[in-house]
């Protein structure tokens, strides 16, 4: 079983739709949860960061973490064509491994 599972998509939605992106993970030692957005031919950029279970909101973006189910989600409200990108979830330990563990990414297209 992979440590991180993420549906690669692609996902196409009309402008204004609510988008839900999800990742599951198997390692209960993960303590930090992140979402990155990656535009074509660019490096990933950090969108959302959270430590605990629950919801964290930032503008049109909401990150949700359910540690008991080992499941994280990113919701995008009122999606815009500029949101078209690949979204990657990422995880890290509090101590131990120095690196982040990434999902393979979900490609999202928002159609005007």
């Amino acid at each position: 079983q992979k440590e991180v599972e993420q549906d690669p998509g692609p996902l196409s939605v009309p402008e204004g739709a609510i988008v839900s992106l999800n990742c599951t993970y198997s390692n209960s030692a993960f303590q930090y949860f992140m979402w990155y957005r990656q535009y074509s031919r660019k490096g990933p950029e950090l969108l959302m960061y959270t430590y605990s279970s629950g919801n964290k909101e930032d503008g049109r973006f909401t990150a949700q973490v359910d540690k008991s189910s080992k499941y994280i989600s990113l919701f995008i409200r009122d999606s815009q064509p500029s949101d078209s990108a690949t979204y990657l979830c990422a995880f890290s330990y509090q101590t131990g491994a120095n690196n982040l563990f990434f999902g393979t990414g979900t490609r999202l297209t928002v159609i005007p």
């Binding site: 890290s92 120095n98 690196n99």
Partner: protein, 113 residues
């Protein structure tokens, strides 16, 4: 600089040749990472530098891969005797604290022919 700078942005090389990829991190960031991104594979950790500590090389896939970081700033990733399976985007990132996420460069797209 304002962001993480990587060069070259694209590199095409013949199988068996050596290549050097460069990363200039954000000034003041003590942590520097190299990742590899292959199609459908996600980001694969390669190596981590933190200040003057010994690097974490646990992600390097073979002894053909090496990296150094001079003066706690610029880093070079070297791939010797390149193989076709080395074709990927090589991403560099820097951070002040690993648990708060990184800032990535735009990557070097390596194609081995």
């Amino acid at each position: 600089g304002a962001g993480v700078s990587q060069s070259p942005s694209n590199k095409v090389t013949e199988k068996g040749k050596d290549v050097e990829l460069r990363c200039d991190p954000i000034s003041g960031h003590t942590a520097l990472y190299w990742y590899r991104q292959s199609l459908g594979q996600g980001l694969e950790f390669l190596i981590y530098f933190q200040g003057n500590s010994a690097p974490d090389k646990s992600g390097l896939p073979s002894d053909r891969f090496s990296a150094e970081r001079t003066g706690g700033s610029v880093s070079t990733l070297t791939i010797q005797r390149t193989q076709q399976e080395d074709s990927a985007v090589y991403l560099c990132a820097s951070s002040q604290d690993r648990n708060y996420g990184y800032t990535f460069g735009s990557g070097t797209r390596l194609t081995v022919v």
